[in-house]
């Protein structure tokens, strides 16, 4: 479904990613984990074509996106829903216009867009009455939900990308967003990549985990194997979260792609 093949990317000669290879199966939820500045978000930016690799190839549904025209890339992007780090809602548009943006771009009938928008808001547990609100009239947690609704409302996205969707939120809102992602994973079954530095989130959401450090893949496999990885960086990185990792390792047998954690009931609310 998604493949990075030996990808290098640098900015002004400073390497950001070096020799990154990973493969995401259809329907899989992959977590890319790592400390700040390890190149996690860059992998998503490369995938969606916001930046281009210096070397290597990137495939989306077997199509090499490093070799295609911008126009073709635009068509491919319409099948991808992306949630940006701080939401990146269009602040001059209402919630409804934000959520329905991709559909309006595809010249869908306004009534049809409205129905899709309401459905997407319901899916993320937001009240339909928020449709005419401006993004800055809502809390950070609600904005993040709107951002997820916007990604879902694209015309049947086959791939969902989450770039640190809980960054900057209070623990309660953060947990609600993570629960929402788990719920969407279980109900929609779409291919997804979650970028996070939060180990608890990673184990809660991910089927398979890829760990990045200084732009290199240091682990790529089932979450249950992460605890047994023979790598100093991973041991140091996981040290503060021993209990979480041990519990996950017990739940997930080594070498077996983990069963997703059961989806918690979707909570509505205002966070």
């Amino acid at each position: 479904m998604i493949e990075f093949r030996d990808v290098d990317y640098s900015i002004d000669g400073r390497p950001i990613l070096t020799g990154v290879s990973l493969y995401v199966n259809p329907g899989e939820t992959r977590v890319i984990l790592g400390p700040s500045g390890s190149g996690k978000s860059t992998t998503l930016r490369l995938l969606i074509g916001l930046v281009h690799p210096d070397r290597g190839r990137i495939f989306i549904e077997r199509e090499d996106v490093t070799q295609i025209s911008e126009e073709r890339y635009r068509q491919i992007r319409q099948r991808i829903g992306m949630v940006f780090q701080q939401g990146a809602l269009f602040d001059s548009m209402t919630v409804g216009e934000n959520v329905g943006y991709a559909l309006l771009e595809q010249n869908l009938d306004e009534d049809e867009v409205d129905a899709h928008v309401r459905e997407a808001l319901r899916r993320v547990g937001l009240d339909e009455g928020l449709i005419d609100r401006m993004p800055d009239e809502m809390s950070g947690g609600m904005q993040r939900r709107v951002a997820i609704a916007r990604a879902l409302a694209s015309r049947d996205p086959k791939i969902l990308l989450y770039d640190e969707p809980t960054t900057g939120l209070d623990p309660q809102s953060s947990e609600r967003i993570t629960d929402l992602i788990v719920h969407l994973r279980d109900t929609l079954g779409k291919t997804a990549i979650l970028v996070t530095h939060d180990i608890a989130d990673a184990f809660k959401v991910g089927n398979v985990i890829t760990v990045l450090n200084e732009g290199r893949v240091v682990f790529d496999g089932p979450a249950g194997d992460l605890d047994r990885a023979n790598n100093d960086f991973i041991h140091q990185f996981l040290a503060p979260f021993r209990k979480t990792v041990a519990a996950a390792a017990q739940r997930l047998p080594a070498g077996v792609a983990p069963r997703p954690a059961p989806a918690p009931p979707l909570r509505g609310g205002t966070s």
Binding site: L50, R77, Q78
Partner: protein, 257 residues
């Protein structure tokens, strides 16, 4: 020392090259659908109606100040009847487009650069791309089209008020409204109007290109947006003066004046 100078020169050339490519892409994109009509109307309102008050005030005041200077000199040399003639030449050909251009540039360039710069720093432009939108078509073209329509219209309003203000000043120097109007109409030739209208059209393209480009290339969060906004206003203001100088020479040569 020499290496630093060479490096700065190289960077300047790269910047000029990038800006030129941006402007060429902007003009090319302007003719390719989709066209964002709603966004264009919104920008037209912001550029046109939003700038109307400052154009009315500056046009009226600057026109009267110019007329005051001219009327006094013309009265002393016994050529008071020439006030309309001098006002048309000064305002329509030179002062109007530059004055209105600079007033609108300071307002629009700041607004456009700050808005696009803020969108850049909050990933909204990346979000546009991620949802399959070309930011050039969605953000830049509507602003350029709005300015290309609004600026010449504002220049006409500014010129009219400035020339009319000249007539009021003339009355203080015992120049009748009829003789002033006759002088104005005699020199309000298609050629003079053409010179006055070519300039705002090109100023509009320049303001849109510079302001959007500075917004797109702004880096470093709020501070970066502030720096880009300041640079955008300075470049647009100086650019208008430079472009006016170049265009005046070119037009004079083309019309064999």
């Amino acid at each position: 020392m020499i290496r630093t100078v060479i490096e700065r020169l190289r960077r300047t050339l790269v910047t000029v090259q990038e800006f030129t490519l941006f402007t060429v892409a902007l003009i090319r994109t302007a003719f390719i659908p989709p066209f964002y009509g709603r966004e264009m109307m919104h920008q037209l309102y912001f550029a046109g109606i939003g700038s109307l008050l400052i154009v009315v005030v500056s046009g009226t005041v600057a026109g009267q100040a110019l007329a005051l200077q001219l009327a006094r000199e013309l009265a002393q040399s016994g050529a008071k009847s020439q006030l309309g003639h001098f006002m048309v030449i000064s305002v329509v050909r030179a002062l109007g487009p530059v004055l209105v251009g600079m007033v609108v540039a300071s307002r629009m360039a700041a607004g456009i650069t700050a808005e696009i710069g803020a969108m850049r720093s909050s990933d909204q432009i990346d979000a546009l791309v991620a949802f399959g939108t070309d930011p050039m078509k969605r953000l830049v073209v509507p602003r350029m089209v709005a300015l290309v329509i609004a600026l010449p219209a504002l220049v006409i309003i500014g010129d009219t008020l400035a020339v009319a203000g000249g007539g009021l000043v003339g009355m203080q120097y015992h120049i009748t409204w009829e003789s002033y109007a006759a002088g104005v109409l005699r020199y309000l030739t298609p050629r003079n109007l053409l010179v006055g209208m070519i300039k705002p059209f090109l100023f509009a393209i320049m303001i849109a290109a510079v302001a959007c480009w500075k917004g797109f290339t702004s880096e470093g969060g709020a501070k970066g947006v502030g720096v880009s906004t300041t640079e955008s206003v300075v470049i647009c203001s100086v650019g208008i003066l430079v472009l006016d100088g170049i265009l005046t020479r070119l037009i004079f040569r083309m019309l064999h004046w």
